[in-house]
């Protein structure tokens, strides 16, 4: 999961970034409406965590602008206001969920998983493909019931491929899912992760479609 966090308070932004990263997500942080809109237009995120009171405007306006562009990306509003009217305004503007500050980091992560799951059209919280089972909540992978330890990036690659098992994911698409703006990306990073993944969960599970990318092999 690649998450955009729009929060101007450095302490909260830092906590969310570190907290979600610990849970296996790739997180980018911005602090203003303008940066948020720029980020959404250049990068594909799995979900956005959006603060309402931003220094250069309201998060609600950012949300409206995102929705006006027919962007279906799930958005979770983070708000210090807990008046019902504010929440209603937020949800009506196109938010998928909201949390009132101070919030629980685990709850934030769970809600993010829920809204991304919903936007993917899934009901099962786990991703299952044959004998491989990915649990986003635990950031764990089992093959035939046996736990397979994966690195954060390996997990992210596998989760991306398993979200839509038949669909080919290009290398750049996977890179986008794997690395935030601040990360240094080796040119062959994706290949390396795929190589390690195949070693851990089985050579035949991931198929290389030459010139296009990767996908889970049909069972």
């Amino acid at each position: 999961m690649r998450i955009l966090v729009v929060e101007d308070d450095p302490v909260i932004a830092d906590a969310v970034r570190v907290g979600l990263t610990l849970g296996g997500a790739i997180v980018d942080c911005v602090g203003t409406c303008a940066d948020a809109l720029a980020a959404v237009s250049t990068t594909r995120f799995s979900a956005i965590v959006l603060d309402i009171m931003l220094p250069d405007g309201s998060g609600i306006d950012v949300l409206r602008e995102i929705r006006a562009g027919k962007e279906t990306i799930p958005v979770l509003l983070l708000t210090a206001r807990d008046e019902i009217s504010d929440r209603v305004t937020g949800l009506d503007a196109g938010a998928d969920d909201y949390l009132v500050k101070p919030f629980d980091l685990d709850e934030l992560a769970a809600r993010l998983r829920a809204i991304t799951r919903r936007s993917d059209g899934r009901t099962d919280p786990c991703l299952v493909h044959g004998t491989i089972r990915v649990d986003p909540a635990e950031a764990s992978v089992t093959v035939d019931g046996a736990l397979v330890p994966l690195s954060r990036r390996e997990f992210a690659v596998l989760a991306a491929l398993m979200e839509r098992p038949g669909v080919i994911r290009s290398r750049s698409e996977l890179e986008e899912r794997l690395y935030g703006w601040d990360d240094d990306v080796e040119s062959n990073a994706v290949e390396v992760h795929i190589h390690h993944l195949r070693n851990k969960i089985g050579r035949e599970t991931i198929e290389t479609v030459r010139g296009l990318g990767y996908r889970m092999r049909a069972i």
Binding site: V11, I12, V18, L22, P55, R81, E83, P102
Partner: protein
């Protein structure tokens, strides 16, 4: 107070009744007069008629009794009218049935009123010397009264029947007339408590428009006050919850982290949040203390330069920030409450430092009237469109500092007000940054 409708109803019914009564008395009086005139004329006519018919009565000597002489029948009148024919020498020649025996009047001719056998009579006499007779025709006044009475009674009964009908009609008309008022009342009573939309003035009758206009103005005022309060609450909630949210999230990170570096980083962030929260609490306490106070009494002479030096010494500042205090301030003395002045200067000083995270110069100098104090920083200043809102509690503009609370300027302003001074903010013209003047009012 009595309902307007009932009041109008009573007034209208009262007025209608009064007019009704006046009309009735007028009819009574005028018909009585008219009737009297008509009846008098009839008496006169009857007397003349009898006189003209009574051919030779006067010369005839053989008068046996009045009854033997048949008088021409005056159909329908005999019960009212009584007629006597007397000879000029005082003999009763004839009389109508029911006429009294005694002479009706002594008068030779013309009208006269008499009492005969306890009854009031109106009598007309006419003398015909050529025929040697005197004809007397009279009628009972009681009968006349009854006639007028019957006439008025005939008018009165329908009137009495009509009055309730009229009342009903007035009541219905009033209801209809008051319908626009009912609409407004209905609109207002069925509103939600927070519905501050103006009442539609165009749909209200002109008499009520001043009222609805006043109501709408009040609505607008209340709405503005409420919005202001809501903004304030929202800002306050934001300022109070944000550091708490940071604290909680960082604490969770610290618990969840296996990497000691991550944990240490989170703990450091917690320290920052705690500092920020304690500063917020300090400022909240300061502002509530200032709110509770009136004009400050305990004034003492304070050397401004010394006070600024002291504040600058205890305030933490990044290495990149430099501070200069004009030497002339060491000779400036304000008579003021020390706590208030210190609060104002400290918050301005902190404000200046906080808005220059990457360094800059804070300069305390003497103002142009040498009794004023000026502080200038090299921060981003305040966008002109935010100027009116600056100083609103919890308001933090576009260039807010990460550890501010939006209370600093409010506190400074309030503290200065308490000691009779004023705060003027402007953006510097010589470079970027904010210029704050502390004006001592005369």
């Amino acid at each position: 107070m009595m309902s307007l409708r009932l009041r109008l109803f009573l007034i209208l019914i009262g007025a209608t009744g009064l007019i009704w009564l006046a009309a009735l008395s007028w009819i009574y009086i005028s018909s009585q007069r008219e009737l009297e005139h008509v009846l008098d004329t009839r008496l006169q006519e009857a007397a003349r008629m009898v006189a003209s018919l009574a051919e030779g009565f006067g010369r005839s000597s053989s008068v046996e009794g009045a009854d033997s002489k048949a008088l021409p029948t005056l159909s329908g009148y005999e019960r009212q009218l009584s007629c006597q024919i007397w000879s000029l020498d005082g003999r009763l020649i004839a009389k109508s049935s029911g006429a009294p025996e005694g002479v009706l009047t002594d008068r030779k001719s013309g009208f006269s009123d008499h009492e005969i056998n306890g009854e009031a009579w109106r009598v007309y006499a006419v003398e015909d010397a050529s025929k040697g007779i005197r004809v007397l025709v009279g009628d009972r006044l009681g009968l006349r009264e009854r006639l007028v009475g019957d006439l008025v009674k005939g008018l009165l009964w329908p009137a009495l029947l009509i009055v309730p009908l009229l009342g009903l009609l007035i009541w219905l008309s009033l209801n209809r007339g008051f319908r626009p008022l009912a609409w407004i009342t209905n609109d207002l009573t069925h509103r939600k408590a927070d519905d501050m939309r103006p009442v539609n003035v165009a749909a209200t009758p002109s008499e009520v428009q001043p009222l609805t206009n006043a109501l709408n103005q009040l609505f607008a005022k209340v709405e503005l006050a409420r919005r202001h309060e809501r903004d304030l609450t929202a800002f306050a909630a934001h300022e109070l919850r944000t550091p708490l949210a940071g604290l909680k999230a960082q604490a969770q990170v610290a618990i969840a982290a296996d990497d000691p570096a991550v944990m240490k980083h989170a703990l450091r962030q917690i320290l920052i949040s705690v500092d920020r929260t304690s500063r917020l609490v300090r400022q909240l306490l300061a502002i509530s203390r200032l709110d509770a106070r009136g004009e400050e009494q305990g004034a003492e002479p304070i050397v401004i330069g010394d006070l600024i030096d002291e504040i600058a010494r205890v305030t933490a500042q990044p290495d990149a920030v430099t501070i200069s205090v004009d030497e002339r301030l060491a000779t400036l003395t304000w008579m003021a409450n020390r706590e208030c002045l210190e609060l104002a200067i400290r918050n301005l000083h902190e404000n200046a430092i906080q808005h220059m995270p990457s360094g800059g110069h804070v300069r305390w100098t003497l103002g142009s009237p040498p009794n004023d104090i000026v502080v200038e920083d090299e921060g981003p200043g305040i966008p002109e469109n935010e100027m009116p809102q600056v100083g609103t509690r919890f308001f933090r503009g576009q260039f807010k500092s990460p550890i501010g609370s939006g209370l600093g300027l409010s506190i400074s302003r309030l503290a200065l007000e308490r000691i009779g001074a004023r705060l003027v903010l402007s953006n510097r013209t010589d470079s970027k940054g904010l210029r704050v003047e502390l004006l001592r009012q005369a």
